[in-house]
Structure formats: C-alpha cells, structure tokens
C-alpha cells in the first residue's frame, strides 16, 4: 500500500446493472405471450451468475446482486409498501424513465413486506445493498403531502426496515442513491430534515451507510456532505471538480471514477492515477472506488468492461507489481 493512500481502498459496483440481451428478449416475449415465466427466470439466473462472476474476476471487495429484477430504483419498495407507481417520469437528464410512487396517504399504517429486496443466496459475502436516498424518494414521489415530512416517514417506515433487512442478509454497505441533490441541489430549509431522515434510516442498521450524490457537481456541497451522519459520501467525478472537494474529510469517500453514462471504457492505468489523486487530495479515512452512477444506462458488454476497469485500477494501487 502506498503511503499516500488511505487504508483501505475498496471497490464495489452498486445499483442496477444492465440486463443481458437474453433477458431483454425473454421479458419482451413474456409480455407478448411468446415465452414462459420459467424461461424468463432462467435468463435472470444466468444474468445473476454472470454478474457475480464479473465481480469476482474484477476482485471487487463487496458484491451486489445488480438489482436485476428491479424495474426502477423505487418499484420493489413501492410494492413492498403497497403503494401504486404508475406515472412515467423522466430519470433526470437521461432517456430513461421511472414510475413515480404515489404517496398520498401516510406510510406508517402499512405492512412493509421486504422479501423481494433480499439478495439471492448465490451472491458472495460481503455484500453491498442499494436503496434510494430518502431525499430523492420524497422528491420523486407523486404527492401533495409535505415532502420533508414524507421524507422522514419514508426513512423511518420503509428505508430503515429495508436497510435492516439488507444488513441482516450480509450487506456491510448500504449504498443510497442521491442524484436529486446532485442534479437539482437542495434548499437550506430541507437540509436539517434530510439529516434527520438519514439518522433515522441508519438507526440500528449494522452496516455502513454510503450516500452517493451524482448527476451533478458535489463540490458545491462538499463542506456539508463531509459532515453528514453517514459512513461515506459518494461523488460523481464526471461532474465534480476534484479540487472543490477540499481535504481532510471526516467521513469516507466513494469516488465515482468510471463514467456510468459513456460507452467509452476508461483506461485502467489512468483510472488508477485518478484514484491516487483523489486519495491525496481528499485524504478520507476510507476510500471506495466505483462508477459515477450505476451502470444501468449502458449495454451490458460495456458495463462489464467498466467493472473490470474498477477492480483493475484498485489492484494497481493496492498490489503494485514489484519492479
């Protein structure tokens, strides 16, 4: 390990991973009555096996199930809480859409059934689980309710139980997707409720919480982010100026070093050099290395190469070849 690097430097790939052409064809065929559910299940099983293998080959430090069956980052949670999700809504500045959860009534009275989010037993330990951040969830929802109150309700009644379930299933990290802050920013009056929601979410959860701010410049919020009640904060280095992050961070950093929206596959050596510069600049107590956003918006073959790049870049730093 280089003296300039924090110990540890760890790589993982959170979020929704792209599906194979076989799953694409199978799910399309199922909707048109041309294939059976068993064939679709078989295709998903192959995809999961393949993604596990890719992560092993890349020697990532935490393993994900790739949320391969999730139709969007909210859907299984909306279903778990018995909340409808109907209105097709653009996913930030992408040619991709989610169905907004419709949250007009209080969540507290509902039974939240979370079986669907438990990673498959074939996913190796230690695992990383991915959930939407409460701030994004409350802003993306279709509702007329007070969104800050809704955020607290979501954190307490849906996300905290979900995080506990994931931690109980071997997830050592709970990765929270927070593109809303990156893309739209956050108003001063929303900051304290968000901090309370994060604290509520993490209460009693035996795993590190990583809040990943992406699709925007995290540098403008760096002074606030580095003091949040979380284990680590993730940034999107495609949109963020490294120099704006400051130095001597109090919490861990997840550096999004590989572009989750570009089909150009990064060079492993250049990525390793970027990670080294991030470590030297920010000096976090722990450094995670990942993609700028999840890889859902890439074809699977490209995503696979990006995962390999991540693992390879970290290995170059942590296991340098002797001259």
């Amino acid at each position: 390990m280089s003296a300039a690097l924090p110990d540890p430097v760890l790589a993982y790939q959170p979020g929704i991973y792209p599906r194979s052409e076989r799953v694409v064809a199978a799910t399309r065929g199922l909707e048109r009555g041309r294939v059976t559910q068993a064939e679709v299940d078989g295709a998903y099983r192959e995809d999961l096996d393949d993604f596990v293998q890719v992560q092993k080959q890349a020697r990532l430090d935490f393993f994900s199930d790739g949320l391969l069956r999730w139709q969007d980052i909210f859907r299984p949670l909306a279903h778990a809480a018995g909340v409808p999700a109907r209105i097709l809504t653009r996913w930030f500045d992408n040619n991709a859409f989610f169905r907004a959860p419709e949250l007009e009534t209080p969540l507290g009275s509902r039974d939240v059934i979370l079986d669907a989010i438990v990673p498959d037993g074939s996913v190796p330990l230690p695992r990383v689980g991915t959930l939407p951040s409460p701030y994004m969830f409350s802003r993306a929802a279709a509702t007329h309710a007070d969104r800050n109150q809704l955020m607290l309700d979501i954190a307490r009644d849906v996300l905290q139980p979900a995080a506990r379930v994931l931690a109980g299933a071997g997830c050592r990290l709970i990765h929270l997707q927070e593109p809303w802050v990156g893309f739209f920013g956050i108003e001063g009056g929303d900051v304290a409720p968000f901090e309370r929601a994060l604290a509520a979410l993490g209460d009693g959860v035996d795993a590190g919480i990583v809040l990943h701010v992406y699709y925007g410049d995290a540098g403008r919020f760096a002074d606030w982010l580095r003091r949040l009640p979380v284990h680590a904060v993730g940034v999107d280095l495609v949109e963020t100026d490294l120099a704006a992050l400051g130095t001597g961070w109090e919490v861990g950093l997840m550096a999004g070093c590989v572009d989750g929206r570009s089909s150009i596959v990064e060079d492993e050596e250049r990525t390793a050099e970027l990670v080294r510069r991030v470590a030297e600049t920010v000096q976090p107590p722990v450094l995670y290395v990942s993609s700028s956003s999840d890889l859902e918006l890439l074809p699977r073959d490209v995503a696979r190469l990006k995962v390999q790049c991540l693992g390879g870049a970290v290995r170059r730093l942590t296991q340098p070849v002797a001259p």
């Binding site: 909707e31 859409f97 089909s263």
Partner: protein, 385 residues
C-alpha cells in the same frame, strides 16, 4: 387544416405474424388466425394472399419485403378504419424509430440494448466518426403508403436532437480526463455536443426530408421525444429543428412527450417553422370527466403553446399510450373542450394519442383510437362544428 383534425403520432405494435415470419421463427395457427381476423376486420380484401405467404414460411428476402408491406397495409387500414383524418403505417417497415435512422447513416456503430423503462429497451449506437446520410431511408415506405392510403398522410421522422441524445458519443467528445478542471470538461462536452447534434440535423435529417418532399410528402412530423432530456440544451434542440427544416417546402410539425413541458419555454419560441406541436398530456391527467381547470390537471401547460407568437396548432394528446385503459368518448370530449376553451379557437387544436401506440396490442390501440375519434365527434357536436 380542419378543426379538431385527428391523427396518430407514430408507431404501432408489429403483429406477431410479421415479427415471427420476418425473424424466421415458426408461426403458430394463432398467428395466422390473427392475420385472417384483422384482414377481415379491417376490410383488406387481398388478405388471403398474405395467408398464403405466411403458409410459405420460411421466407426469402423478397418475400420478407412483401411481408413488411402487408404489415404496413394492415396498419394503414387500422388507422383509417378507426376513422383518423391523417394516417401513416405505424412505422411497420422500420426496425424502430431510432435504429432505423442510424442504420441508414454513416458514422454509427451499435453498442447493445439499453433500457428505457420497465421491460422496454432500445438498441443504442455510438457515433464513432463524422455522421452523414448513407441513403434516404423513408422513400420506399412512403412511396408504398402513398400508393395505398386513402386518408391524408403525415410522415413521422425522428429528429436530430433525439438521434444524438439517444446515442453514445465516441467521436465528437473523446477526452474525458477526470483530472482536468470540471468546468473545462463541461465546456468541451457542450461544444462537442453542439457539433454532433447539428451534424445530425444538417447531414442526415435534412437531406432525408428533401428526398421525401421530392417524392410528394406534404406533412412531416419531426419526432423529438428526447427534446427535453437536457434542460440546458433546449435552445440547441430548437436550433437543430430549424437547421433540419428551414426553407423546405412542406408542413412541419414536431412531437414532444413525457416531459416537463414548461421546460420548452422560451426555447421553442424560435421554432417558427413548426406548424404544429403534438404533445402527450393524457398520462398526467385525471380520468374523471369535466371541463374545468381543476378537472384537467394534465393540461395546465397548454396556455404556453397558445401564446407562442407564430400561433402553432396544438396536437392534443388525449389517449394514454402506457395503459390498457380505454378512454371513453366522453373523457376524450372533455379534454378537447377544455383545450378549445383555453385556445378559444378549435382550428388550433388537433386530436392525437399521447405518443405512438406500439406498447399496446392492436386490440387496445384500435379501441383507444376509435373512442378518440368518437370523442372528437362529440366535441365537434358540442361546439357546433
């Protein structure tokens, strides 16, 4: 154009007999029965020849070409039978609105499937070199549809901004060195993006439209579902529309969908050559009847289209294409009456689905379109037109 003119927006699902026979997959009796059923229902007297063709599968190259035209003919008849004033063929002869364009252009390479939502995907390509038109790619289908259609034609053609936005860029912007200052990278990305979008407009979309107009196309709908994807690029979208159509001798409209439509203002004030905006609203609207402002939450933005200085027509999306719910004629009527009241001019309202109906079965699409036409008739009666 007549007040409350009705038209479709673009795609229809491809029938199973078309998909399977074209792909060389075995046809079931249900597939053949579907061809027979719709041939009779849509009054296609020649349909026994299609049945003979399907029975002859696997098909050779010329037979597949004939199959695409059968599919095209069926779709034209479906739209005409539903009673629409302006039709096309549901893009039956194309692979898909994005892929068909890049497949006939230079400078792109396919990269694989990318999800748009749920289980819906598209094959995404990357610009790997300077982009240009390889060959006009709507001429054959237009010539055929022109020869068989009885209703007026409106040709849907994917727009430049959407083609660029739905593509990866591996040519115009290559150096993503993340150690450079973010502001410097951002500026380089924006400048590269502008070159990419305008190259698509000038070198692919415009010459393709010129070819169509040369064949007799009079109304071309520039499909731009990607137009509002990047809120800071709406002026570029407008610029690309103008670069695609300015000075050409035809009626041009554009189709926008599934966006925060407020974002388009003021950028589209520059699109003075756009005679109609076909916009999806029903997906955001209430299913309750009523013509009051409160009853029609999905249509709150329409005064902004009304107030554009060049007074375009609004193609009013009244049918949700993401649901099998069949809108009643009365619901369609009330959505139209609300819009006419806001515009105070029925000549500036056309009636359309929110978007192409390719995610719905033909059964559902037909039922939705028939009720759309029936609802338009109710509105015409209510307005004394």
């Amino acid at each position: 154009m007549k007040p409350l003119l009705t038209h479709e927006v673009g795609s229809l699902d491809k029938p199973s007999w078309r998909v399977k026979a074209y792909a060389g997959q075995p046809l079931s009796e249900d597939d053949v029965e579907s061809a027979r059923h719709w041939g009779e229902r849509l009054s296609v007297p020649e349909y026994p020849a299609l049945i003979d063709l399907l029975r002859a599968a696997p098909l050779g190259r010329e037979q597949k070409q004939a199959l695409r035209r059968w599919s095209s003919l069926y779709a034209v008849r479906l739209l005409e039978t539903a009673g629409l004033d302006a039709v096309y063929d549901g893009e039956q002869q194309r692979t898909e609105m994005y892929d068909w364009t890049v497949a006939h252009s230079e400078g792109f390479e396919r990269r694989g499937s990318v999800r748009a939502f749920d289980n819906k995907y598209y094959t995404k390509a990357a610009a790997t070199g300077p982009v240009s038109l390889r060959e006009p790619f709507l001429n054959d289908e237009f010539a055929y549809i022109h020869s068989v259609a009885q209703a007026e034609l409106k040709v849907p053609a994917t727009g430049a901004y959407t083609i660029a936005d739905w593509s990866f860029d591996e040519h115009y912007y290559r150096d993503g060195d993340l150690t450079l200052a973010a502001e410097q990278r951002r500026a380089a990305r924006h400048s590269s993006r502008r070159r990419f979008v305008l190259d698509v407009a000038r070198n692919i979309i415009r010459p393709n439209m010129q070819a169509l107009i040369g064949l007799g196309a009079r109304w071309i709908q520039v499909d731009e579902p990607g137009a509002s994807t990047e809120p800071d690029e709406l002026e570029l979208f407008a610029e690309s529309f103008n670069a695609s159509v300015e000075g050409l001798d035809a009626t041009f409209s554009t189709h926008l969908c599934f966006s925060d439509y407020d974002l388009f203002f003021p950028a589209i004030e520059a699109m003075t050559a756009c005679r109609q905006f076909a916009v999806g609203f029903a997906n955001y609207d209430s299913l309750e009847l009523g013509t009051s402002h409160e009853s029609r939450p999905g249509y709150r933005v329409i005064p902004k289209f009304r107030d554009l200085s060049y007074r375009p027509i609004l193609g009013l999306g009244v049918v949700d294409i993401h649901s099998d719910f069949i809108e009643s004629p009365e619901l369609v009527r009330d959505r139209i009456l609300y819009a006419v009241d806001v515009f105070d001019d029925p000549h500036r309202i056309h009636v359309t689905p929110d978007c192409g109906l390719r995610t719905r079965s033909w059964q559902v699409a037909f039922a939705k379109l028939r009720n759309m036409v029936a609802g338009t008739e109710l509105a015409r009666n209510a307005l004394g037109l």
